[in-house]
Amino acid sequence: MATADLESLLRSADRTAGTAAYLQTARRLREFAGDFRSCRVALLGTSTLNPLVPFLEVESAKQGFAVDAYVAPFNSVSQELLSPDSGCVSHRPDVVFVSQLLEDVCAPLANDFLALDASEVRRHVTSIVAELADALQHFRRYSSAVVVVHNFVLPQRPLLGIQEVMENASQSAAIRSLNGALVDAVRAVPGVYLLDCDRLAAEIGYQTWQDPKLWYLARAAFSSHALKSVARAQALLIRSVMSAPRKCLVVDLDNTLWGGVLGEAGLGGIQLGHSYPGNVFRDFQRAVLSLHRRGVLLAVNSKNNLADVEEVFRSHPDMVLKPEHFASMQVNWRPKPENMQAIAAELALGLDSFVFVDDDAAECALMQEVFPQVLTLAPQSEPLARMDALLNSGAFDKVSLTDEDRRRGELYRTQAARDQVRNASGSLEDFLRGLKMEIAIQPVDDFSLPRVLDLIHKTNQFNLTTRRYSAAELAILIASDECSAFSLRVADRFGDSGIVGVAIARHWSDRARLDTFLLSCRIIGRTVETAFLAFLIDWARARGIDTLEGQFIPTAKNAPAADFFARHGFIQTAAASGPTDWRLSLHDARVQWPDYIRQVDDARKAS
């Protein structure tokens, strides 16, 4: 399929394009459906949502997805969620969007707010949320689809005029508290997330959000501007629940982290500081640092002299980013794709984990051509536009943020310290002994679930089966009596690595089967898998199980786990090409917990 055609097609529906262009692009995109991952979507709502579909198709295509949308009959949200044979459930959606208007879920709050006293307002807010939570719980019983609930938009015109902002009992305040209560309600049901519609409305303007004639003529709640904005937010959510997030931002230096060319202008001549354009570069660095704090790894890919660059990091007073924020620095005169490959190898990440930012159009084109898997942001000549491009890309957006995300940069740095010990110490066992590892293995609970899900979605290398369960599927598995799930947490003398392993076993009377067994790449090579397996064998024996079965499903990336079964004495039972089946008799299994690893109740307490 001609990629250039597809690109120009998508460009024809950019943010400046009119409605007609969107409609036409949406239709023509259907010919390219094979080029995209498919995503089945259900739109549930209390207003006319059909006009949203072509916009959603176009915006999803920009994120790599071909959307197959079902639009539920007008104002049937509860029926669609509560009935196991509703149109929504039969559509077998991957993602369900629930877009309700306040006046449809609670007329008094919307239409005659000032007649209510404070306790009535509270009662209404509570009952809206309770009703929704109940419907979502019901829906969860027969669908594992991700559900995204739109929050409520503040009134276009404050009922109390200028007083609204000063009044605790205003309609605006009630809607804010309703939106706050939604946050807690969705957190209680696995696989349910929020879409911040109120924020979208504020971005384009409350006055622009609705088009009164579309509303009064057809109960269509979104103006054409709002349609674009909602569709884009939905598409970003689709991408973040359907695919693994990007993990590493790779930046150029000259005219990216600072203005000017360091090799020519020198330390004192680069633009970085408190006046234009240096202040833009400083803020760009702040934005990059915030991504780092969110768990995005940073790397440098620059054509420069390393000594010059080190001097800037060391002595420029306005550098926001420090060497310790970067997991990898490739500063040399080699082609940038080659450096990109080196960064990927160093961090043990696939190329599809990277986002690349460079001001030079030729470098961007080269990267795009050599490594299309890398997300290369469109080069911008204006410093201000570059910041927008990074912040608006949503490339690193995720539906949840775990503690491990916040600490990932730090984790990779302690990894570097460990590698130094490995290089300095003699045998592997000396190295492992020297680490003073402590492991805690616990059944997966509400606390560990987000991180476990994260690992299930992101672990490629030490992963026996690479089963990517959705939050809802996982919740259902864990709740099942025939299934046990464990998380494994590791700490050592360099620090706490957090939860880095997951095992899910299905079990029947006398046998158990490893459904999922994975370890984060940063723990590979430390015999943690042997400890984990020894634990599982003890657990199985205690339940009277005498056979442990497993399967290895080879992928492009999981070679590090290929010899796991053979290494631990499993016998191969089926030798078809592709997946292989393995069995271990627990009567004569000889898997020993490594004596240099201490098992603890809570590895977080390790020193």
């Binding site: 009119g18 006319t48 072509p54 004639k213 579309l214 009064y216 003529l217 054409s224």
Partner: protein, 80 residues
């Protein structure tokens, strides 16, 4: 056929996925099958963005064929 007709026909053709040849002043929901009530919403939004005008609710209702659309656009001050 002048340029104004071309631009209007092109927009309508884009919205309803038909050829510009099929569009005349008499074209209406009766002659174009995709011109249903949802299609009409799309059409109103498309005309507003293409001709940079605001169309009132009454005018949106009055646009029952292409000739009437042109009259509405003229009245709204579209560059025709």
């Amino acid at each position: 056929v002048n340029a104004e007709n071309d631009r209007l026909s092109r927009t309508i053709a884009q919205v309803f996925d038909v050829s510009t040849d099929e569009i005349s002043d008499d074209s209406s929901p009766e002659t174009i099958s995709s011109w249903d009530s949802f299609g009409h919403l799309d059409l109103v939004m498309a005309l507003e963005s293409e001709f940079r005008v605001d169309i009132s609710a009454d005018d949106a209702l009055a646009m029952r064929n292409v000739g009437l659309i042109r009259a509405v656009l003229r009245k709204a001050g579209a560059e025709l």
